[in-house]
Amino acid sequence: MKRDRMPYIPPAERATPDLDSGKYLLMWQGPQHPGITGNMSLRLVIEGDTVVDCETHVGYLHRGFEKLMERRSWMQNFPLVCRIAVPEPDFNEYCYAAALEELSGIQIPEKAVWLRTFSLELMRLASYLMWIGGQAGSFGHGTIIQWSATMRDYVLDLFEELTGGRIYHMYIIPGGVRGDVPAGYFKHVLEVMDTVQKNLDDIELVMYHNAVFKLRAEGLGYIPPDWIDRYGITGPNARAAGIKRDLRKDLGYLAYPQLEFQPVVGSKSDAFERARLRLQEMYQCIDLIRQCIDLMPKEGPFRAKTPNPLYWKVPAGETYVAAECTRGEYGFYVVSDGSEKPRRVAVRGPSYTHAVSVMERLVRGVNIADVAGLMVSLHTYPPEIER
């Protein structure tokens, strides 16, 4: 019953199917299509029900962030950056703020370090919860999203309580964070974590031990380990291939060196392995959140002083700050020419690689019904590709 009989096409030059031959069908999946993540599209060439060629088309969400950021002052960019990756805004905020602080030589207080770590982990959990619903749904499994979307909503409630926003938190401001936790907040967090954990146990039973899901996901979208560096694959997609690589460990930013955790590593490198690995990472998130709450200093300032936001000039220089987001290496490359506005901000989203190069290659030979599942298993967010 193994699905590894599904044809795996070895890396080779891309064949150009002759569309006029009548043998193939050209089909667009997206942008208006339920089986697509976000607003993007795949131009598929299919033969029978097998995909023979694929092109990823992006740009439907292109707002020109990198240009807009050159027009705005350093602090004005703070509300802008979180919009770059809608389901996971906090990583943008962190990378931008950290880059800005590094260039300006600002040390953030201990408490801010922990609150940032805490909110990034909470964000990671929410993002995975959103993903898991999509992954199950793309294989025709409608129940999981009913649960996970609600679980995610509970996490968003936590964000709302802490930051005042559900989707766009705008919490990790350059210099620290925007506020301390409200009274009784961590108690509420722990309650929600218990609820989510209980629900994840259910999900594991219903989804991961579901014959249909297993049958469809196992062997689908195999990424050979030697692709990892060749394609620049990062995050769970790389770890599922047995590559132990996690920026939280490797770079040791924020409070991660003080937290106890080991990157989750898989071996089979197929859609099911990636899904399994992400589930484990969700448990890990919950654990890290609990650790954060235990270790976080109770007192102390949460923000360092920064210059007047209207006239903040950042010393000339450049830096690249990366963080491990749910999809892999998320990074901000920031260049300052010493003026009140950034010279250049470039965003490196992991989906850039995963949804274009990797996706186009992996989808060849896949059954048309599995395209959506494969795409979700790569965990791609179009807004971070096109910015």
Partner: protein, 615 residues
């Protein structure tokens, strides 16, 4: 694939009897969190319309619009922020940056309409259901985007300061000045409060940019006394400062001083403008104080030839003779005056108009005359015994100190009054080794003196006696007879006698004190000396003030109406030069910057008048 993969999914049937996740009435049941960033609210009373919210808003979602019920006044632009919800991204940076803390957000989030034009409103002015919402986003405790504390000005130690006449305030270093300048948000609300309407955001920005030459140029556009004003200005601007609504106001005065201190006098000429052509007109200015010299400076820039008549032996007026050198060192003042003289302004020192030269003569010799004679005459205490030889007048004491004359104040000095003259006299007495009591009729908070001066005087060791009504000055009896005077005063309490007026000190019956002093310095107020204006000049005066028009020109009595039958026909006002007046003599503010503003304004008025007359 094992059997578990078929069975396990059924395990969650147990959840079928648990409470469902579904919210029954989502719209009603779920208000935003207490910190939710919902629709804006604004305490329009607290808001001063500085527009910092507009400046920080990256979405250009905020407009400043005139709001009904809020007129422009000093310290309040009369504008209020109007939010366009077709732009807003609810980042709340406007709330974070708001200097006064008036902006906030409610936790309301539902606003639906079919008309896209309605999503704009002025929070706090246009009523909305969420007005006054206690919940919603507010700036967190201890979190501000703007620095609320000013950079502390390095000062001499007070114990040390009182021993010398060295300048107390040491001035900012470059780093301090740039840090302080960075606190400014360039809203410009202060400009209206400055009598001279200086371009305050402009020159603060020059400090921020480190461009001192541009800074100096901006200063001289409206004020040729930056060294002096940078030290002793009454800085009304700082009262209007937007940053001051939620913290210390920006140290505008010290920044002005910083700019002027950074540029050498020799370099002034390279930066500042000069007259383009000589107009051939001659103007007389009476009084070489800040007002007179300011008029002279701007007249000289317009190409007129200016002569300033000064009764004292040095120019500077009250800046020199009224303000002690520990507040305004003479070299700093000389720098300001020196630059004005370098433009060709002639100062006739020691030439009093009225005695050495008559006003009528000036009017015939010059094309226009500007009077800026100020308030040189101290008013007396007006209590029995106020002509006692130990009763001195504050202005005279300060002038004597400037001239370096021995003051002979003695060991114990009373200063009567609560104005800047009183403080300066007290601190001068302290520096002469006296123990000083400052007696003031009302409370400390009512004192008209600059709060800094009061603070410094007390820090230097003067003791402040509030609510002391002077009653009498008597000769002391006994051993100290003849050497000291007995100052009799009555303790008072403040009584609110009439609604809407300030409370009145009322003597407490029986609480009369008698204290012996070596000197009693009266500093209750000063008046003008107008004895040089004769009736034949036909200048209109009211209550010892010239009656002036918008440009400072003194109205002239119609020929014949007020003229005495025997007046000489040659003094007909239409033939003589117009007379302008300004400064303390005319305005109610009675400070250097107002005099400077008057001088600038009158220079423009004179120029226009000459134009009209010439054509």
């Amino acid at each position: 694939m094992d059997i578990k993969d078929f069975i396990a999914p059924f395990a969650v049937w147990k959840r079928a009897f648990e409470k469902p996740f579904t919210v029954k009435k989502p719209i009603d049941e779920r208000p935003g969190a207490p910190r939710y960033r919902g629709f804006h609210i604004n305490d329009a009373q607290k808001c001063i319309g500085c527009g910092t919210c507009e400046a920080i808003c990256m979405n250009k979602a905020i407009d400043l619009v005139p709001a009904a019920g809020y007129a422009a006044k000093e310290g309040d632009s009369g504008l209020r922020p109007r939010v366009d919800y077709g732009r807003c991204c609810w980042c709340a940076l406007c709330v974070d940056v708001c200097p006064s803390g008036s902006l906030g957000m409610s936790n309301e989030y539902v606003w639906i309409d079919s008309d896209p034009e309605v999503f704009r409103y002025t929070p706090g002015v246009e009523a909305k259901p969420w007005d006054g919402s206690p919940l919603g986003y507010r700036r967190a405790e201890g979190y501000r985007l703007l620095e609320e504390q000013r950079v502390e000005m390095p000062e001499l130690d007070y114990k040390e300061a009182v021993q010398t006449f060295l300048e107390l305030v040491r001035g900012y270093s470059r780093q301090q000045a740039e840090k302080e300048a960075d606190r400014c948000v360039s809203c410009g609300v202060c400009i209206a409060s400055c009598p001279a309407h200086m371009d305050i955001p402009g020159y603060i920005n020059a400090v921020r940019e480190g461009d001192m030459q541009n800074g100096l140029r901006l200063l001289y556009e409206t004020n040729p006394f930056p060294e002096a004003c940078g030290r002793i200005c009454t800085h009304r601007c700082e009262e209007a400062c937007a940053i001051g609504t939620g913290g210390d106001p920006v140290a505008i005065r010290w920044l002005k001083r910083y700019i002027a201190d950074q540029v050498e006098l020799a370099d002034y000429g390279k930066v500042l403008p000069r007259a383009e052509a000589d107009s051939g007109k001659k103007i007389a200015v009476v009084g070489a104080g800040p007002g007179g010299l300011s008029a002279a400076y701007y007249l000289a820039l317009l190409g007129h030839s200016v002569t300033v008549f000064e009764k004292d032996s040095e120019a500077g007026g009250m800046l020199r003779y009224g303000i002690p050198e520990y507040r305004l060192p003479y070299p700093a003042l000389d720098k300001d005056i020196g630059y004005i003289e370098s433009l060709g302004v002639k100062i006739e020192r020691g030439t009093a108009v009225g005695s050495a030269v008559a006003l009528a003569e000036l009017r015939s010799r010059f094309d226009a005359v500007y009077l800026s004679t100020g308030l040189p005459a101290a008013y007396s205490l007006e209590v029995p015994g106020d002509k006692h030889p130990r009763v001195l007048d504050g202005v005279a004491v300060l002038a004597a100190a400037t001239r370096g004359e021995p003051l002979g104040l003695g060991k114990r000095v009373a200063v009567v009054g609560g104005g800047n003259v009183a403080m300066d006299a007290a601190r001068t007495a302290l520096r002469n080794g006296a123990a000083v009591d400052i007696l003031y009729r009302r409370r400390k908070e009512d004192m008209p003196a600059d709060p800094d001066e009061i603070r410094e005087a007390i820090a230097e060791g003067a003791s402040l006696v509030e609510k002391a009504i002077p009653l009498e000055v008597r000769d002391a009896a006994g051993a100290i007879a003849g050497k000291q005077a007995l100052f009799v005063w009555n303790e008072a309490r403040m009584v609110q006698k009439e609604d809407g007026k300030r409370p009145v000190p009322e003597a407490i019956p029986g609480a009369v004190h008698e204290d012996p002093y070596d000197s009693i310095i009266a500093a209750i107020g000063q008046g003008p000396d107008l004895s040089f204006i004769g009736e034949a000049d036909r200048l209109e005066l009211r209550r010892f003030k010239p009656v002036v028009d918008g440009f400072g020109r003194i109205a002239e009595a119609a020929a014949g109406a007020a003229a005495e039958p025997g007046a000489p026909a040659s003094a007909s006002p239409s033939k003589a030069a117009a007379v302008f007046a300004g400064g303390d003599l005319v305005n109610d503010r009675k400070d250097a910057i107002s005099a400077i503003a008057d001088g600038h304004h009158a220079a423009q008025g004179i120029d226009r008048w000459l134009d009209r007359k010439g054509s």
